[in-house]
Amino acid sequence: MKIEKKEGTDLIISVKGLHKRFNGNPILKGIDFAVKPGELISIIGRSGCGKTTFLRCLNCLEVLDSGRLRIAGVNISRGMDKFKKRSTRFSKIPGIRFQKKLPELRDATLDEDFQLKLHTLRTRVGMLFQSFNLFPHLTVLQNVILSPMIVKKETKEQATLRAVQILEKVGLEQFIERHPHELSGGQAQRVAIARALAMSPQVMLYDEPTSALDPELVEEVTTVMRNLNKEGMTQVVVTHQMNFAESASDRIVYMEDGQIVEEGPPDMIFSNPKDERTRNYLKILND
């Protein structure tokens, strides 16, 4: 599966030169990434390698500092100027560090049209969290129909009808009147998936969806994800479940130190990794 493609209409996600820093510390150092519709991508790597931040950048829970992001038809791009300018603002006189008074850079992310873009993006991209983040004050059904009703302005009947169908798909039609605290972890995560699906997303992003689950419950969540894959849903999963990554993914991405080190089909990554760093990581896992 080659990904050396031009940015065209057949790519549902494409990322170029994505940078992200927190408090001046670079977390993501120039990431290029592309996904075709219907692919299931697993992102693996050590803790702190930036894979979660990368996923959060994909639906702009963290807004990238620079680079270009195109996902589900929404274009987000920001320049490098902010950081470059800042570095030249110091005095050239040796030994004296004072900042020249330059006009404050306006935070473009607060602009109305930028916010509108983010809003559009999020209605098209679903996101799942390690801790499910179900709304505890609402029942399962209410969790699923809330967003379609208030964001897409669907009627209660439409939303409920669809919600019940989706909940049937994830095998939870019996639980629609329960509250989240009455569910097991696996059920809760499946409700979260149903809740995201109710918005009819084009892409689903998962941030370690099974790592808070008891081992015997992992399967019920991954099964849902495999089924979605069969239906042609584009999915990007940050995971530590190597079994799942190996057996379900179309492609594996290995990240280290804020960069994508290597990517390829599962059999290639797991049996014949090209990069030294990938080999080291997998060796630790196998030990």
Binding site: N59, L61, H119, R122, T123, V125, G126, M127, F129, S131, N133, L134, F135, P136, H137, L138, T139, L141, Q142, L146, S147, I150, V151, K152, K156, E157, T160, L161, V164, I176, E177, H179, H181, E182, A192, R195, A196, M199
Partner: protein, 533 residues
């Protein structure tokens, strides 16, 4: 769901507003004659202006008789306006009433602020000691180094301080000082003679001692520039003096003294009955049976009931103001950009950090100087509401922060706007955290509402003060009022518990176990199933 509750809530507010307005307005419908509005604190006690012990709804006293006689002379109707004694003079500034008559001594300080009529009564300060000590203590010099009580801010206090060497203890209520004397915390009390006569004269434990001290002149106070009114009142007082009506009133209350005889150049003796005084003494000396007490407290109920209504109405409306305003301030503080959030913080710190009493005074007495005149009820609601809003804002903030960050992220990831996420996801969860502290604050507000008596409102605590000073019965009335506060508060505690259950599914599902559940859509599960088929 919210619509139904909002409707209910609105109708409750409307009813309360009407009830309160009715209470405040009921005295205003009178005949066609012009009305002389006069202020006195019914808590000031006998013989000035106090509730008739046999009928607590009626105000009596020698000042009541005098102002009635004056109004009659002027061909006017009269109407009493209740105000705290300290607030009598500021209230003139607000044009709440025309005159104030309530044992206001004519002093140079007061004359600078208000106009005084001719004196309507002249008296002196009277020493009172414990029975058996009247021979040892006959004047101020006998009290050197001893504790002596008096009324705060009265002429007697100045006399005591000027004497030097006396330990001066001041009280808000003269009756308290006599109680202190009886139980031995004071060695003497120096107060205006009528008070001594009415509250110590009949008490076998206490004795009036020594010679008259100083001279006290009472005048009717009115606004500085009102010369027309001044002339009318002075004319009426002169007529009352000449016709003997003034003497008749004073004799009725046993208040005629040598100073008045001098002032009116009338040394004759008289045999006018002293019925007002005798009735009062009879009432005080009466050995009360259980039935008498019962009848007395039943007699209190109309007054206390009315006062409770004011307390309840005031507290509920103020709390609604506080809850709504507090929410707005909390959201501004947490989510608004810099200048607005800073303003919200400033509001909270200033309002929380300054005394409610001063805020109430400011709203009631200072705003009218800027041309904004508001009724006591409105002032009380604004004062209490805005004050408690600061506390509620902090409660909400705590509630908002108690909701995990992931909830907002999940809501936003689902395409909700921040405001929608707040409305549907964050606030409903914050509410259940916030209900207990808000209930707490409501109970606290219920009691803080007693502070509004300083701005001419008669609520439960003020009614307590009035009744207890009339009957000299602090304990029984106190217990009655305390029970009323408790009874008022309890239903709201219960309500809060229900609300807490409503907003926390863990408790709710325990409660509803076995019962048919409904969605917030209002559709039961069975009906939904049927609908889907």
């Amino acid at each position: 769901m919210s619509l139904k509750y909002t409707k209910k809530l609105i109708s409750i507010i409307v009813i309360l507003l009407f009830a309160c307005n009715h209470l405040l307005a009921q005295n205003q419908e009178k005949g066609k004659r012009p009305v002389l509005r006069w202020a006195a604190d019914a808590e000031s006690g006998a013989p000035y202006a106090f509730q008739d012990p046999t009928n607590p709804l009626k105000l009596i006293g020698f000042e009541v008789d005098i102002i009635k006689a004056i109004a009659e002379e002027l061909g006017m109707d009269q109407e009493h306006v209740q105000n705290q004694w300290d607030g009598l003079i500021p209230g003139l500034e607000r044009n709440d009433y025309h005159v104030a008559i309530n044992g206001l001594e004519i002093t140079p300080d007061r004359e600078r602020v208000v106009e005084f009529s001719l004196p309507y009564y002249i008296t002196y300060e009277q020493l009172v000691v414990r029975t058996g000590e009247e021979k040892d203590i006959t004047n101020l010099s006998d009290l050197n180094g001893k504790p002596v009580g008096t009324l705060k801010g009265a002429l007697a206090e100045r006399i005591l301080r000027a004497a030097g060497g006396i330990i001066v203890k001041t009280y808000d209520s003269e009756k308290n000082s006599y109680t202190e004397l009886e139980i031995g915390r004071l060695d003497a009390v120096l107060i205006d003679h009528p008070v001594a006569l009415y509250y110590a004269g009949w008490n076998p434990q206490l004795k009036l001692a020594g010679q008259p001290i100083g001279e006290v002149t009472y005048g009717i106070a009115m606004k500085k520039s009102d010369t027309l009114l001044l002339n009318k009142i002075n004319g009426a007082i002169k007529k009352l003096k000449e016709s003997g009506k003034l003497r008749e009133i004073l004799e009725h209350w046993n208040m005629w003294n040598f100073m008045m005889a001098n002032y009116m150049k009338d040394p004759s003796s008289s045999n006018i009955p002293r019925k007002g005084f005798e009735d009062f003494i009879k009432q005080q000396k009466k050995e009360l049976t259980f039935k008498d007490y019962f009848d007395r407290y039943v007699g209190f109920l109309p007054i206390l009931g009315q006062a409770s209504l004011v307390t309840v109405g005031l507290s509920i409306i103020s709390m609604i103001v506080a809850i709504l305003l507090g929410l707005f301030i909390a959201l501004t503080r947490v989510y608004a950009p810099a200048p607005f959030s800073t303003l919200a913080v400033a509001y909270i710190e200033i309002v929380r950090g300054t005394p409610l009493l001063i805020q109430l005074f400011f709203i009631y007495y200072a705003l009218p100087m800027l041309g904004i005149k508001i009724t006591p009820f409105l002032a009380a609601i604004i004062g209490l509401g805005c004050n408690y809003a600061a506390y509620e804002a902090e409660n909400y903030r705590a509630g908002i922060f108690s909701v995990p960050k992931g909830q907002m992220e999940a809501a936003i990831s689902l395409g909700m706007r921040k405001i929608q996420a707040l409305r549907y996801v964050i606030l409903p969860q914050a509410i259940r955290v916030v209900i207990p502290p808000i209930t707490n604050d409501f109970i606290s507000l219920l009691k803080d509402s007693s502070l509004v008596s300083v701005i001419a409102m008669v609520e439960l605590t003020k009614a307590y003060g009035q009744l207890s000073s009339t009957y000299y019965d602090y304990i029984g009335t106190g217990i009655l009022v305390a029970i009323l506060y408790l009874l008022i508060g309890l239903p709201f505690v219960k309500l809060a518990k229900l609300a807490e259950r409503k907003y926390s599914p863990e408790l709710k599902s325990q409660m509803q176990n076995g019962k048919s559940r409904t969605y917030f859509t209002g559709v039961s599960f069975k009906r939904l199933k049927a609908f889907l088929k």
